[in-house]
Symmetry: C2
Subunit: 436 residues, 2 copies
Amino acid sequence: MEKNISVGLLGLGTVGSGVVQIVEGHQEELVHQLGCGVTIKSILVCDVEKDRDVQVNPATLTTNPEAVLADPEIDIIIEVMGGIDEAREHILRAFKAKKHVVTANKDLMALHGPELQYAAKQNGCDLFYEASVAGGIPIIGGIVDGLASDRIEKVMGIVNGTTNYILTKMDDEGVAYEDALKEAQELGFAEADPTGDVGGLDAARKMAILARLAFSTSVDLADVEVDGIDGLALEDLQFGRQLGLKMKLIGFADFQDKQIEVSVQPTFLPENHPLAAVKNEYNAVYVNGKAVGETMFYGPGAGSLPTATAVMSDVTAVIKNMLLGVTGQQVVTPRYDKVLKSPEQRFGQYYFRIHVQDRSGTFTEISSLFNELDISFERILQDPIKNDKENGLAEVIVVTHQTTLEKINQALEKLAKVDVVEEVKSYFRIEGGYDQ
Amino acid sequence: MEKNISVGLLGLGTVGSGVVQIVEGHQEELVHQLGCGVTIKSILVCDVEKDRDVQVNPATLTTNPEAVLADPEIDIIIEVMGGIDEAREHILRAFKAKKHVVTANKDLMALHGPELQYAAKQNGCDLFYEASVAGGIPIIGGIVDGLASDRIEKVMGIVNGTTNYILTKMDDEGVAYEDALKEAQELGFAEADPTGDVGGLDAARKMAILARLAFSTSVDLADVEVDGIDGLALEDLQFGRQLGLKMKLIGFADFQDKQIEVSVQPTFLPENHPLAAVKNEYNAVYVNGKAVGETMFYGPGAGSLPTATAVMSDVTAVIKNMLLGVTGQQVVTPRYDKVLKSPEQRFGQYYFRIHVQDRSGTFTEISSLFNELDISFERILQDPIKNDKENGLAEVIVVTHQTTLEKINQALEKLAKVDVVEEVKSYFRIEGGYDQ
């Protein structure tokens, strides 16, 4: 077979440029895998005249979406333009024209994934989106195919490289949050407006997508509880170290008795947990399956070529399906109705850092407050109590045993009302088997 | 579609029992994925009467291979009996009967993989073998599908759980090799005859399979250079620690300028390398792709349910292909002729531990020996030189810069002839960017 498959590219930014590079540079690999070549026939851009890092034939560039979406020679649309509304319309338009779609757009898939998958199926088209989660890591394939027969119980991911870079700097070099963020911005790991990353929204989008797939249930972005790392205190990382814990921004998704919880929050992990060793801008997704046990997928979570590799793996899969005549055969119906866990069904260990009045009886008062709620302590750090001469304050670190989020919320309410407590400076969930 | 797919099982040992458990326990998952159920119709065993951990309908058991292989209702054969000749014959017989095959048999795939794949293709059948490498880790899928468009340059794997368990014990607890092996045997992580594991052959088989896939070239088991961990000295792990290095039994496969090298040997890695954090019986495969960069797949390398999960993922894939009518479509032809690197094309850093005469001039003599070969030093450990009063010996640790295996071999020859050198106690390759 000497035919060529023509694809259309929507967007020529970081990922789009990577796709062009791989299609040009790895044509031999593609021909070997597929028995046919791949050509990028046209590329939708905002500005045809703009200088670009990657060399493309100017004749392929267009500012008219229809030139790509309505071209009968184009079989596959690669959406790497980002954004939501316009990208969604283009993709729906592509399906109407019976074109298959590969997208790297996590924002779009988190918000409109089920709608788009349904539209693909209706039109007998494929919609693949491996690149939308954790860049170059083939995690969606790992969950959908690799663990096909298993029942996935938990997914924990470091799915945002910017925040992991910042946390690594803080932990390894004792740099404060603001300085680590600034360095990440200077190196291009963080954007000028880092809100989406450090606030946790970017990770939440990816976790919504992963939780949907892993548990075969509909999860909306709004179901993900989100807390970021902005303003995280270096002290907490240092106390964590004394306790054998590492702080990571963890996307957590858990499925028990057909009830789910999905969250993104700064979380302590035991320092020997596989995720604790994931450094700098790297991502990793830890999957716990009933039969398989613990697995982890590690790699670059972003970047031009890594993300483009995932895009092109999807393109390869679509082309194989096309050649075999079996596109549009994905299961898109969730198996389970979505039931979110309530706070009394959400278990975890917690770390508290509390500023208290440094006087006798303080400890007894705090410990009896936790006792009344039936929350027991795994550890208390008394070492780090540093006297604050001016205000007469001391610092207490408490690590609880497993308890419910409901009780933790009650404890926080009570702590706020107790005289000896000046302030609960911070509290974090501990995951990954610290008490085992 | 309410139909059931019938499968036949060859073998009901550890993995076979896991397959039975998953088919029984995860039937709902399978029906959701496939739209049809899966039934194990018959099972080939040696002894029908034997007591088993897993409950099976006695009527499904048979000692007659033909009862499974010739049954027209059986579409898929799952080979988990192990061994080579008999398993090979059964699989070839299955293909003749147009049955698809899923196998977990690394010994067989390492030796006869290409022959079996060719036979599958000739008969329009699928042959899948995800479970043959690294148990529950979907590494074959990761390489074949996840990195489909990329050019893989290096694969490094901890692909034997027994040896990794032993090395972890030695490193974490300062236990001698013999004691760690004994403990592994008591816990069931090592067999009574551990030769295949500790000698490196088990890992070599997996690396032959991985190298074939990753580089699309024919690699025979005989092409893999094998060295095991038997008798490894605790001292070397301890010196490694001083140098920031961890010892692992690393399967190494590298592809440069269309030339390959594949080896299994105890290797030092920088302690911050992702593979260095892989502990106990866990496996991990690190893949370096030209575009994607560094990725790693981590999980249980063996065990009944993890391995059975991989088997059942393959079964799921075969059934999807069957339902879509597209079985037997895999690419089985290698892209490249096999060219093995010669010793002068194999680069690496090396660690030497040398016992020398403790007298003046010794150091100069050794360093000029390396100098003459144009091998430069990255580090020399002088601290650990402990005087051996009786024999007047001292211990020297030398870490070289990148050099060729050819030069290392020359250095070893020369060191053997030099008076001041009592003995080269050990030497190991260092991989993973120690000099970066």
